[in-house]
Amino acid sequence: MTCPLAPFEGGQGEVAKLNTVNLLPYQSLLKETIIGLLMLLLFSGNLAAQPEFDKHLSYQQIISILDNNSGQTTEALRNQALAWYHWAYYDEKKTGNSDNAFLYLDRSADRFLKANDTSAYMRVSSDLADRLVERGLFDQAFRIYHEALAYFNRKGSLYPATHILTRLNRACLSNRDTAEARKYREMYLENNKILQDTAIEIMMMEDEIGKLQKRLQYRGAKSISFRALKMAERKELDDLINRTQFSYAENCRLDRDYKTALEYYHLAEQSGPTQFIRRDIYHGLSETYSAMDSLRKANYYAIRYAQLGDTLLDMGRLSSLQELVVRYGTEKQRKVIESLQEKNMEVRSTAEMQEGWLYTLIVALFAVGLSFFFILRDYRHRLRTNKVIAAQTAALNLQHIRELEDQLKIDTMKSMLVGQESERRRIAQDLHDSVGGLLAATKMQVEKLSEKNGGSEQNAEWLKIKTLIDDTVAETRHIARNMQPNTLLQFGLATALRDLTSHFRADGMPKINFQQFGDFSNLDHNLALNCYRIVQELLQNSLKHAKAKEILVQITCSDNQLELLVEDDGIGYAADTIKKGMGTDNIAHRVQFLKGEINLQSAKGQGASTLVTIPLP
């Protein structure tokens, strides 16, 4: 069968973009090519509908396809998908970065999926996943494989599903998860019992060959690749014959059977390989001749390899070429160059040494003169200004000491506050998770027991125990909330403060009015926690001491500052009578730590108002 869609050959000058950008090592390149071809063979029944993956599209063409196909019809979706596909490779080639390419390929696969184009979907999605695997992004790759697998399973398409299984197997191997890999391998082997597909069988053989090559068992690899070749010949699959010939040649070379290798390389060269394979054939030929010490021929094929590499835009070729030139360059030339270089160095170093001496002398003289000048000037200067300097230094030192002290204070405070908070968090957690849970469990057991004793809900003693437990639970909850406001973490400062104020809403308590202005959603957690504590302390002071009827809690957040206001209409206090209690100290520390300001307003009998202003970073 001659495959009407030798896909990687499409338009001699415009080699399949898919491959031009693959900067893969040589071995996996070969594998990719073979798999790509096999994949298309699998779908040869569907050839008429194959999208033009390998046609070269310019940036303008891609854009205009996207512009003209905005609809959701199958045709439009397919065109979109194709455009994204090409864009992916265009972008990657242009930027050298694959991140966007992954995104675009994902879009392309998605569009093909929506268009229900099974074969194209499989090609793009497995292509994407393969590349993710190359980059070590296994999680994403597995997700894509599994999505595709689920889709094909749903559709009952055995070919593509099997194909994906082979890919999964390969990916697991790359991820060193041999157990998973074995699982997938068994699955696709099982599937192939039904499919009996030569392409997949050969693919499996390629797997085997790859494994053997890794273990350096070239003889085994050689015999399997020979079997693959014979199988391809029996089925008369031209492209497979070409590739298996090449593969056999490679394995012969690795097994040091150079004569056979040469024979099959030349056979493969004549049986119409793609540019891609052709290049690899030249590489192999060059290596073989080099191993056979026929350096002239090795050099000839190395150059042809490099020339082809030019058209293929492979980055790897440059280094290979240099390597080859160095390896096959004549010994004589190298020696001449070396001796010339040595001579050059000698002459240069003598000249440099003489020059160096002269400069050193000049510099030394100059330095001596200069230092005399400075010493004299400095001495005179110092005599005159000694006193001023001393005073200035003292002032500077003092300031420095003050700054250091401040910094030390802030540091101490910071570590104290941080330590305090983390301790509180721990205790609150314990109270909640452990004591709270245990109490709830205790209550249940008590209930059960009371039920056993005749369901005596009215029994006063049982009731008392239950009430006690309830009170303990409520108290635990209250302490835990004081220790660590859970809502602060979950919902932010404004909600947490609203909750805080709402907990004091009861008969006989002052009426608390809570107001908020601005957006509090982007506050740093530490800042929010400190602000919460400040308001909490201020509120508690008002509740405890002020005998107020109404309390206003108001927080305002603007672009560059945060205002916390707690105001009551209670008994007030004269400014100098504030007790240096734990609370006010704590507030002052926190405000200082946040580089904010406190503004207190109060007088006897006129309530109190505390405004804390904190700058935002």
């Binding site: 697998l149 399973n153 009952g156 055995l158 599903a161 699955m187 099982e190 039904i194 909640h432 998770d433 452990s434 709270g436 849970g437 245990l438 109490l439 709830a440 469990a441 205790t442 209550k443 249940m444 057991q445 209930e447 059960k448 039920e451 809900e457 239950k466 437990i469 309830d470 639970v473 409520a474 909850r477 909330r481 859970n486 809502t487 979950q490 919902f491 909600t495 947490a496 609203r498 909750d499 709402s502 907990h503 809403r505 009015n513 107001q515 202005f517 206003l552 108001q554 305002t556 603007s558 560059n560 500052q561 205002e563 206001l565 105001e567 503004n599 307003q601 108002s609 405004l611 202003t613």
Partner: protein, 234 residues
Amino acid sequence: MLGIFPQGPKSPTCSNTTDNMIRIFIADDHAMFAEGLESLLSGEQDFNLVGKAGTAEETLRKVRMSPPEVLLLDINLPDQSGLEVCKQLREEMPDLKIMALSMFSDESYISAMLGMGAQGYLLKNTGKAELCTAIRSLAAGKTYFSKEVTDVIMRGLMENRTGANAAKEAPKVSRRELEVLRHIMDEKTTPEIAQILFLSEKTVESHRAALLAKLGARNTAGMVKTALHWKLLD
């Protein structure tokens, strides 16, 4: 042919369950509490405890595999918030009844949980009788909340109502704002007010903004008009 592909979870077959029993699932990371709950519920004839889990991940997995009728869900799961679990499960299974179980009686938690689609909210010190009533209510398609929870919700609603009725009573203005307002009515500029009150201009500006918001005014003239209307400066 499909048998050789990886399979999704099989749909559950509950042969040992009769139709009129309420299938209950417990999600709580506190083992002691979960056990207590289990032993408390196991005494009831019409309850069938189908499973329990200690993490959000486990809960999602098990509930998806074998959906219960009523899920008792702790808000405070170790790996993920119960809120998130509630949201996900409600989206996937509209028929599932979710009862939040929590140590928290904060309004924000309660309203968040209701917002995520929970039909009930119980505090963890709830007694057996109430617990059973709550579960049966949920199974019958009704909602259920502890008394304390209802109180919290009511208080929140009341506060909102006073907010909505704000036009009927004077807006709550802080003393500092009042001072700023007084100076504004004396036609003082922001820098002048800042100087008089020993405040930064920024703070004065933010007081002015708060005043505009509280008095529902668009500019200084409107602000003055509303202030006069409520006799704020008397």
